[in-house]
Assembly symmetry: C2
Homo-oligomer: 697 residues x 2
């Protein structure tokens, strides 16, 4: 991909002399930003543009063109691809729209383009985008006017699925004096997608932070792998969050693991920072450009006591610790501050009526030497005279942050025009709201923490699993083109090594009584229905069977009901677990991210509160623990109100074995183990009901 970003010779196809011609606008950007390679314009009407002759056809191009940029009507693009192929061009950037995003025929056209490209071994950017930008060689190819001041060279790469968003982000980053390294408007991703560009960018020396704006993720698993391999911060804004939230879920797990929750979980697991809005993208770029917050101790310094209170509120909200300052520090403040008694020497530190900016700088350095892992400094100008002093102070902050490798988040409060001016001229980030400045620090801290976790690179745990049993059951159901039934789902659960409440499938009451004598009462009876059927819908369950008589009676009732409904597999007789904490364990296959696991509280309340954690499978032990600890109801598991601590290792084991099951057996598309009951005495837990959805079903 190096040639795509560093071509020596390019062609722009679709150029005319007309002022509003988009090809001409591309030429204009290329010349104005100072790209020094050869550029050949092509356009059927000929003429000249920026002193170059417009070649009437691709066939007129010389050999040795590295990249062609295409902005012609979409219909003729297949032909252009062929012509480019003949000329030996290997990289084509298609900016024209009118493909899959537009109509069915456009989609068809896209396929033709793709086939033509494949024939020639051509790789394509777009279509339906703004092309690429490389600030390292000043190659700027969008067909829109870009103000030079918005676009400066820097360390941030942007990949965007939307041209409008890309344009907006460049403007916002430029407003904050943040330059870009490389930009790709990835458009419809007909050929190259975010994974291809990312793979290149994580090795690109010019790039230190990568921003992705995505409306859909092409290959979530690869995105995660790439992100885990790099130490460069990756910020993703994924929109279209509610796109498929209306789909009907056949399984509980499907309903709990909506697409957007899966995206959230996956990005977090991969150490990717997710931004919700354009403003957050820019804020996160800003904070991740300065040294990270490596711990939770925060010092707050403010020019206003009132504003300090608001800042401290947000510090609490984001879980920061505001430690007291050391005695020696406070003595030092006392000694050096001129207005000895006016500073309230607490954290937050209220600067009171000290207006001495040099003292501010000194104070901040002193605090960097304290145990604070980061500083939030609230700055604001009380008069125009303070603007220069503010600039100098922020420059000192830049220096101090580098020297101590700790972040100083500057919350700057002034009128918006002055703030906009300072943001544009300063080489250090300013935040303009206490919530924003604090969120940025929280992102810095959490990103650092998460990356340390990932670096520790734990291997996935191995289990002894009865693979043969599982394969046999799956194969049989597949051959018979049918859903798994309850007893098969339970058998797979058991074979995977998940403790399962003892059960047996019986075809007559006498057999049931034999098992009852082994299991002991009370028992549960369940019709052995296909996994897709809700047993309660057909009154297919009898609980709390206490003796032989009740068993016989219940069995016969259910058997009759099973026959009525055409379920001839018999009745599952199971040890009834009447008491315990109901957990739901589940798995589903996400279109983008593959196997996903869910753990959460079951039962009527817990489902209402939807207290579940999601993880992309397979999981390490640590990740499984993090899922459990991430539940809001976690205190229930550790034992509140004097109750016993539940058997959390048992739960972790069950999650990991479910993980193994989902990953090793592709035929399995979904699992609901609901409930998995953790015993009240803290000893063990049992899968009580299981449903498994297979590929055939």
């Amino acid at each position: 991909m190096h040639k795509l970003f560093y071509p020596e010779c390019i062609a722009v196809i679709g150029v005319s002399e007309r002022e509003v011609n988009m090809g001409r606008l591309i030429m204009k950007n290329i010349f104005e930003f100072g790209y020094t390679g050869e550029v050949f314009p092509v356009g059927r009407d000929g003429g000249t543009v920026f002193g170059r002759d417009i070649l009437p056809s691709v066939t007129d191009l010389p050999k040795g063109i590295d990249v062609a940029i295409v902005i012609t009507p979409s219909a003729i693009i297949p032909e252009i691809i062929n012509e480019c192929g003949h000329k030996g061009i290997k990289w084509i950037v298609i900016e024209s729209g009118g493909f899959g995003e537009f109509s069915e025929s456009g989609k068809h056209l896209g396929n033709n383009v793709l086939q033509a490209a494949k024939k020639w071994g051509i790789r394509m950017v777009g279509p339906n985008g703004l092309g690429i930008i490389n600030m390292d060689n000043s190659l700027v190819t969008p067909f829109v006017t870009i103000q030079g001041e918005a676009l400066k060279k820097g360390k941030v790469a942007i990949l965007s699925q939307s041209g409008g968003v890309l344009f907006g982000l460049i403007n916002l980053l430029g407003s904050n004096n943040i330059g870009v390294s490389k930009v790709v408007s990835i458009g419809n991703k007909l050929d190259l997608d975010e994974i291809d560009y990312l793979t290149y960018l994580i090795d690109d020396k010019e790039t230190e932070i990568i921003v992705l704006y995505l409306e859909g993720i092409s290959n979530g698993r690869k995105l995660m792998d790439i992100a885990k391999r790099t130490t460069k911060p990756i910020i993703v804004q994924k929109t279209n969050r509610y796109a498929s939230s209306n789909q009907i879920a056949r399984f509980h797990t499907e309903a709990l693991a909506t697409d957007d929750r899966v995206v959230d979980a996956a990005l977090k697991q991969a150490g990717i920072v997710r931004a919700r809005t354009f403003r957050e993208v820019v804020d996160f770029v800003k904070i991740l450009s300065i040294p990270p917050m490596k711990g939770n101790n925060l010092a707050i310094i403010s020019r206003s006591g009132g504003i300090a209170i608001s800042i401290a509120d947000f510090a609490s909200e984001y879980g920061f610790r505001l430690s007291s300052f050391s005695e020696s520090f406070l003595r030092h403040v006392q000694d050096t501050s001129k207005g000895a008694n006016v500073i309230k020497r607490t954290n937050p530190l209220d600067l009171g009526d000290v207006f001495d900016f040099d003292f501010y700088a000194e104070l901040t350095e002193d605090i960097m030497n304290e145990k604070a892992d980061g500083v939030l400094f609230q700055l604001g100008t009380t008069s125009d005279m303070e603007v220069e002093a503010s600039i100098a102070l922020v420059e000192t902050f830049d220096h101090l942050a580098g020297k101590y490798q700790k972040p100083i988040s500057v919350y700057f409060l002034s009128d918006e025009q002055s703030t906009a001016y300072l943001k544009r001229v300063l080489n250090y980030p300013l935040f303009t709201d206490p919530a924003e400045a604090m969120l940025a620090l929280a992102v810095s801290r959490d990103h650092y923490r998460q990356n340390r976790e990932i670096e520790q690179d734990e291997s996935f745990p191995l289990f002894s699993v009865d693979d043969t049993t599982i394969s046999n059951i799956l194969e049989r159901a597949c051959k018979e083109k049918r859903y798994l039934v309850l007893s098969e789902a339970l058998e797979i659960t058991k074979a995977a090594g998940i403790d399962t409440a003892p059960y047996a499938v019986c075809s007559d009451p006498d057999q049931a009584i034999e098992w009852a004598d082994r299991f002991g009462y009370p028992l549960a009876l369940k019709i052995d229905v296909p996994s897709i059927v809700h047993k309660t819908d057909i009154q297919g369950i009898a609980l709390n069977i206490a003796d032989h008589q009740a068993l016989r009676q219940g069995f016969n009732t259910l058997l009759a009901r099973a026959r009525e409904n055409g379920f001839g597999n018999g009745i599952v007789v199971q040890k009834w677990i009447s008491q315990g904490t109901e957990i739901i364990l589940g798995g589903k296959v996400d279109e983008t991210f593959g196997p996903v696991g869910v753990v959460g509280f079951g039962g009527i309340y817990a489902e209402t509160y939807n207290d579940t954690s999601l993880g992309i499978l397979p999981l390490t032990e640590k990740e499984a623990d993090a899922l459990i600890a991430g539940l809001i109801g976690y205190p229930v598991l550790t034992g509140i109100r004097g109750q016993a601590r539940r058997d959390i290792p048992e739960l972790r084991g069950a999650i990991l074995r479910l993980s193994r099951l989902m990953v090793d057996f592709n035929e399995i598309k979904g699992i609901d183990i609901n409930p998995f009951i953790l015993m009240d005495d803290g000893k063990g837990g049992f899968a009580v009901d299981a449903r498994i959805l297979t590929g055939q079903s």
Copy 2:
């Protein structure tokens, strides 16, 4: 208070010729902003300032001074008050600090000042603030330099407890071209507080929106009453949110109703909009300055398809409905748009490559005629040439919003400097982030809705309550200087008309058996402990007593235990409600807002999720219903998974009766009815346990 804001003659006390003298700065602001009344500077060193002689003493002032502004060292202020009193001055604005905010001796000084003022019938603003501003007569009294461009005349009044915040808000409002009517830096509220100023401002013709920045609320109940009486939007930013979150709660209700949750509930109930950050204050002022969103139908128009997707995400998040446009509208768009096929005619409406701003205006008016209750228009300039057109378009929006009485929330995306410029020059609000623009519309919609509710002004329900019984119990406990015991709490609950599980206090097993025959088994036994004691801590409960034998045995065990612990009141024998939905009902007295009620789910999970609603008492039926419906677990009450709908009117009745109890009996400081059990069959509910905290305890 009219004279305070409209004085004909003022004195500024504490003025000198020195450049940095704060009194001089006050004089400077007064002159520069063009106040036309008489101004007399006072300062012991004399001299002249802005062409006026500085009088050496207050005693040198002429008669007829309406307002004195004081910025002297705090120690001499009691004396100054006396001198002002002699001169007949009735309003004093104290800007000096050094009072209760600073030290204990400062607090003492404050008391002296207050007493001196009371003696003379003087009312005071501050101390420790920036004074007052009235843009109607250009009276600008802060001792800090204020840029003229930040401060223009408008319709927004600001009351701020912090000078720094006030200064910041004025800057931010000015940046958005929003002017102010009257401003008070209320400081320490030694005499006048926010209630006094609010009372004046709601009748002030110059003021249409009122902003309050508060770190503590002086009289919450009055604040609510005033807010309910006015149709002027009131925006409150209350910080110090976690100030007392660490206090130890003796009662469950105390733990659930933390101060900040009470503030939230109270403001909502009074129709006050709460802002979390300075930015939100400004955003909410902006949206509440244009016509309100009267329904939930939103139309989104965007210049970029990608940005439209992000906007639509937030529309979902805030619960807006994106209805399809009518056929006739779409035909019209088709007919009038030049690029017939490029616009995706869905909601969000993507403007595609239509660059015609006149068409944008036309389109927006058409949509105002559709069923949309409001519009979010995403605008951004693709070149400098579009800036003028954007200004004209936003001016049209202003006109359309007024004509159709619907809001158009403009999300403007450009570089921050251009945006800051446009915000300062336009007379119509711009928002700069999709989340922000959408939140603003949600605030507009919710504020409108809430105000309609309040306007309907339902009266509080009346109940027949056995007042005599309640008074007798409370009086007896008061006289004996002791806590109420369980049986008394249950009796009060019953007397208030809340259905209570049948119980009797027994002193021996035979008596218990007599009651058992009346109640029927199973029974619960409880030691009749003082309300403050946790029965479980002393194993003071026996549940599921099934027969006479178990009753006798359990009774004797508990009786022995009661005696061991010195609780000699006997044992409560109660009908045991073994099944049902556990609810917690409670009440506490908040320092600021008085009696507060809590309703929520009980039991181990629900408490973990803290699913509770709070309301300031007394409640109307509607408000009680809203509390119940506001629970996340509300679907459990309406019956999920085929369960019966619980008896919600029963629950509402219990809440309203608890409300009556808390309001009518001042002696009661806290109530926990936990659990109140709603029967699974949907028929009724019963208070099972009750604790009541009284003033003496």
